[in-house]
């Protein structure tokens, strides 16, 4: 037994090194973001002795990260709310109500899971152009909703399957309509799942680059991640400002992660083990 105990401590060494390798790149970036250009050229690794918040404000204003930030926030918020609304409506109907064609509709939604955006990028861009939705926020929001809806419907359906059907039956005997059951019972009961799925969807939308790149060609409609990609060209000789821009994009995710790590992991785990 003591041999096994020692073994555990030995394993902890490479695991700690890996943990360091996982977190160091971000710490490095945060450190660089606070340096002056001169400091960075002279000493890349040393702890910064200045706190150059000007780098952050330069990235925020003159690079336009501030505007992109607001764009992203808007698009992600609306997308996630629509995903949760449509996903929970469909999930409730597909799991709790008996109606003709329900299993075919469920399979149809599932099929969407196996069609990545890359595969339908060209026709989707053409549909969006034909309907004058390309380069508009509603267009990008619609693309995000379509992208993550199959996953959302799938998770909400399997979550609502765990709720005993007697609850719905009883409420309806009391005279509640189907919509009343959805609004007063299913939405509140679904809160834990909605929270998990909502956070995951928010991360997916926030982190997306390809869909925004294809659907939003204009500069002033850019999302934050597109803003990050344009940093390289503009600030390749000013690494601290570059690092500041990266930091602005990473901090919201970092905060979400610190407070809601449990829900994120639960959502990923639920996606992998259900079905």
């Amino acid at each position: 037994m003591s041999r096994l105990r020692l073994g555990r401590w030995l394993i902890a060494i490479p695991m700690s090194l890996l943990a360091l390798a996982t977190i160091y790149p971000l710490l490095f970036t945060a450190n660089v973001a606070m340096k002056t250009r001169r400091d960075y050229i002279l000493d890349r690794f040393g702890l910064t002795d200045t706190l150059r918040w000007e780098n952050i404000s330069t990235a925020w204003t003159s690079v336009g990260m501030g505007r992109y930030f607001v764009n992203s926030l808007f698009v992600v918020t609306v997308s996630v709310l629509l995903l949760l609304l449509f996903g929970s409506m469909a999930g409730f109907a597909l799991s709790q109500l008996r109606f003709r064609g329900s299993s075919a509709l469920f399979l149809g939604c599932l099929a969407g899971l196996f069609i990545p955006f890359q595969v339908i990028m060209v026709p989707l861009a053409r549909i969006m152009a034909d309907t004058a939705l390309i380069d508009t926020y509603p267009g990008l929001i619609l693309v995000y909703v379509a992208q993550f809806l199959p996953f959302t419907v799938f998770l909400m359906t399997s979550y609502y399957k765990g709720i005993p059907p007697e609850i719905v039956d009883a409420a309806r005997i009391d005279g509640s309509t189907v919509y009343g059951v959805y609004r007063r019972i299913m939405l509140p009961l679904g809160t834990p799942a909605l929270l998990s799925v909502g956070i995951l969807n928010a991360l997916f939308c926030w982190n997306d680059v390809l869909m925004a790149l294809v659907m939003m060609p204009s500069a002033d409609h850019r999302t934050l991640m597109i803003g990050v990609t344009s940093l390289r060209g503009q600030y390749s000789d000013n690494i601290p400002t570059f690092a500041s821009g990266v930091l602005i994009a990473a901090i919201p995710v970092l905060l979400v992660y610190l407070f809601l790590q449990r829900q994120i992991a639960d959502g990923v785990a639920a996606g992998s083990t259900k079905g």
Binding site: P123, L124, L210
Partner: protein
Amino acid sequence: MPIGNTQPSVRPASAGRAGGAAVSPAAHRSGARPRRTRGGLRAERYAPYILVLPAVLIIVLLRLYPLLLGVNFSFTGDGAQNGTSVGFGNYRELFGDPLFRTALSNVGLLVLLLPVAVAIPGLLATFIYLRVPGHRFYRSVYFFPAVLSPVIVGAIFNLLLAFDGPLNAVLGSFGVGPVDWLGDPDIAMFMVVGVHIWATFGMALVVFLAGFATLDAALLDAARVDGASLRQVVWHVIIPSLARTIQFVFVTTMIGMLTSMFGLLFVMTSGGPEGSTYLPEYYIWIQQGQMNRPALASAASTILFMIMLVVGLLQIKLLERSGKED
């Protein structure tokens, strides 16, 4: 993603408690379906369809229909030949294009590296499950890069791997290098895949841990009591019990490599140097957005879909086989 395992890890908490408030005790006595007026009944009958309508409409119009449209596009021409049928012309052109061939051979490289990308999180999850000192800390640190955008990860590694950057500075102090990590066609693809694995192994780790949660602890204890070594525990207890989780991670990791490396490629190498870091998804984007060849891009999309279909069918085959063994 559907998989044979049916252990819900997000449970409907407090189903009884919250529901109880809305349900009157009298309702429990009669088990019959509700009776209502004829008009209400008709509205009620359509209610399920109205509830699923937005989701089904969006998925059909913006997922399933574009798939068919795309396959159709791939047999038509670009530019002056827009809309006219060219048969398999686009596919012939694709396979003659060295960039697309590089993209396909890079897919082959991904397949070869797949076992590594699965084994690393698997092994780490095992250690975390066996409660290495500090296992909670490792779990949260390892998972963190998985929530960062590939664009952010790519930008950070651009900084670290730059020719005059920090990594070469460290190596230089040992008298090694400098190495042109992202500028050497023989190295760049490995760096991008390496960064992708660095950024995503936490996702697979969480999936593995969810699988471990369903593992029979008594089996492990029995093995321990019998004096099994760690290696024996892994080979004879953990791997057989987690067969389905392992298959699931194989498939999702492969799909992740095929569909979520665009951000890294875009930021770190832009497909270069010398086109050595092309993947199908990057090729599709270039042909669609930069080269104005949507039909050719559609053909590449169709081939990417075929590759993913093979990956998916392989999973179903494996599941069927393991189903028979159970």
